[in-house]
Symmetry: C2
Subunit: 67 residues, 2 copies
């Protein structure tokens, strides 16, 4: 699963809007929106923070392909 899809799936599984997720992750709405639309990809630290966020909330379908 590519990163944009992973973000969208996780977000929807948690019933959050892009703005909600941005608030939870302490990033701007624009950033989450760009992630989901494949415009940008977060750096490794932010990526890891995102997956930890998911893991902590029981979102497990999401996996990362190491880069």
């Amino acid at each position: 699963m590519d990163f944009p899809t992973a973000v969208k799936k996780a977000r929807e599984a948690l019933c959050l809007s892009q703005e909600d997720l941005a608030r939870k992750l302490n990033v701007s709405f624009a950033t989450v929106n760009r992630w989901e639309n494949g415009k940008t990809t977060p750096n490794k630290l932010t990526m890891k923070a995102f997956y930890t966020f998911c893991k902590d909330r029981g979102i497990s379908e999401i996996t990362i392909e190491e880069s």
Copy 2:
């Protein structure tokens, strides 16, 4: 002072971005953005909540013209 200007002044006095203010007021970024750009005006309750928010934070230059 018109409402769009009042919002912008108050927000800048508090060193908040539109997104920050939206979070504080529990509305979306788009709503604050539309307020500042005169696209929409909140209803009386929301308007009052905004002015209370300002008052609580020492923003006093802002006044409302009763409608």
